[in-house]
Amino acid sequence: MRQRASTLLIALAAVSALGLTGCSPASVTPSASSTPVSGGTLTYASGDAEPSCLDPHVGGNYPQALIATQYLESLVSRNDKGAIIPWLATSWKESADGLTWDFTLRDGVTFTDGTPFDAAAVQANIAHVQDPATGSSTGYLALQKITSTEAVSPQVVRLHLSAPDSALLESLSQVWVAMESPTALKRTQDENCASPVGTGPFMVTKWVKQDSVTLVRNDDYTQGPADSAHTGPAYLDSIVWKFIPDSASRYAALQSGQVDVIDNAQPDTIVQAEKSDQIAHLDAPRPGASNRIELNSGKAPFNDPLVREAFIRSANIDAAVKSLFFDTTKRSTSALSSAEALAVSRPDLFGYDPDQANQLLDAAGWTKRDADGFRVKDGKRLTVVFPVSTNQSIPAEQSLFEQLQATAKQTGFDVQLTPMDLSSWYGALAANDYNAVSAPYTKVGPDVLRILYHSDGITPAPSGYFANLAQVDDPKLDALLTQAAKTSDPDARADLYTKAQNRLLEGFYLLPLYDQQNHYLYRTTVKGLRALPTVSTPTFYDAWLAA
């Protein structure tokens, strides 16, 4: 797998516990009615692409995060209130100037290869992530501000930063920078990719390519993150982590009991599962940006705000979400995930209003219609080129785009959906050959807005990639976002982000759809399953199988 194939995400932890108010739906209350029993093998079926490397330092994508959560641990975690809690680090301290952080590590922890977990191990891990040869992208960005490390004592590690980073703890909570055995890291990358060694409740014992990874319980495990339901080793003997890309096969396997948990559940199966008493549903929307369609303001016709607004008004997203997602998710009118406390929702801006859309287009000079019913101006048709990455949009989302295409046609837009494989899709973006595009982006905190909509993001990297796909070039917005990133005062910061979001949304640069979908279905014999409130990956540490 290419790094970042399934979901492009650059997860930078940003905001700490600031204003978070327990809005995360990412956990399930363990069944209280019975006591956990040990033993058994749980089969997990992933619809995500099979990782090419099981070490999430390398590259760093969501499929890696999903599986690595089972055998790697981070320095810190988050609870479902959004507060940072201890994990491998028991406590931490920021210097007054914000340029030095001291982490005190938990005593007596060893990696599953026997290597002790200590300050040197943390140093080795940070060095590994920052080593260009590792090829880390997600972790690398997360640790960007760390300039050097220092082992104060075997149990205390000190990090030196280039600039204050209030998002450091969030960054370190990510599984992409989780701790691995320094001994194991010294092996070749191929070896480490095949069997990374961590401190987690399970360990990798076998990997049959294109079939499954076998994870076996770490019997020496003592305790999980502070919000775990129990201590000591995990209940499950082992986990078989299968890769079943075909969603129908995956669900059928769950129904038949061949597998116990599936991810990437399709909306229709979620509805069906909810009617069943054998299958339960876990909804854990990913943090960061909402799923949205970016309108390319850098070229015609979307360089005209009237046309952008007309397009947004002509799209009947509500109806499509309702019919395709069966109320398994809610319509979003924000640029941010609903998991973000600072998210600003503006339902007033994104309602379906074909009459207004028509008026707007008339005002913008797109007054004539051609034989096919599409609007024309100066002999050019009102065309919206919309490349769709089939790797990044689930079928229901692709269907939603088709419905959008159909409703927009009534207003006179010729939406040209072109499903593409990932590399063609990147190619189309790099060539600026698009008017609208949907690109998921996972990152904790409102700082994601700076990456996505600051005009710096228009300049492409050598590969042609750039993040500001709406090509928003608004100095005032740039100023607001830059200012917000520097501001540590919670209220001032919230105010800046609110202003920035309002400015962005009122500019009609994007059409929000819904949160990034992250649905799991599991058989009700699986108890104690929850998603970690960091990047919403499920953890099986507390999970057990009822007889």
Partner: protein
Amino acid sequence: MSELEVQATLSRGERSRSRGRRVTPFEVLAVVVALFLLVAGLLPGLLAPGDPLGIDPAAAFQPPSPAHWFGTDESGRDIWTRVVHGAGTSLVIGFAATAIGLGVGLVLGTIAGMLGPAVDFSVNRLLEVLFAFPGLLLALLFILIFGPGVWTATVAVGLSASPGYARIIRGQLLAVRRSSFVEAATVLGRTRRQLLLRHILPNTLAPLFVLGTLGVGQAIVWASALSYLGLGAQPPAAEWGAMLSAGRTYLTTAWWMSFFPGLVIVLTAVAATVLGRAIERRARYA
């Protein structure tokens, strides 16, 4: 051997055991299917007046009913309408792929069959090499180079069928050239040109009609397989393979979404086979 050659062999077997020219119920059915496809392909509005792309989210996922014979899909589009309108796409793909396959096959086969043993040897080795790429593999390789899409899929299917056509045409050409009626015409003092135009070409080309009929059915199935794998026609195009592929996502909740497009693919393939054989059975050439 290619699938095409197997098909051709089978239909020749049909001829050898033809017992009269009685029309079998199978053939009637095949003609009905073919007529349906033709009408659907040329005048889809006649059979399904609706818009194949017209959505109606409120009417999504409806099972087959008098209002929606084949049910509706995830966007409330009528599947009957889409199947009917998809016939045109599928037929165009089928015919275009067959034309490409036949065209390339004809060139290769004629070169091999007419230009002497050395050329024949070389072309035969080339065909042998091409046969080492099983059908879908050749198509996948082609798509790898030129990217997915309806037209690349069509060309890919046509190209991957062409070695089969080439070998059949070459064999037929050699058989006709060596046949006693061509010898008899030589004895009558016919010129090479006359032999070629009056005897060799007509008798070589006549069976291609049957071959083409069989080939169209096959090409439609292969192209829909590519669409199914996401490498051919792309949704929301009303192409059968793409519809089936989209429908598979909703297999557990809306079986009709994948069942009916699949059914017409099977029916089309069966009809092409039966028709091909029926023509073969009644063909003028022996």
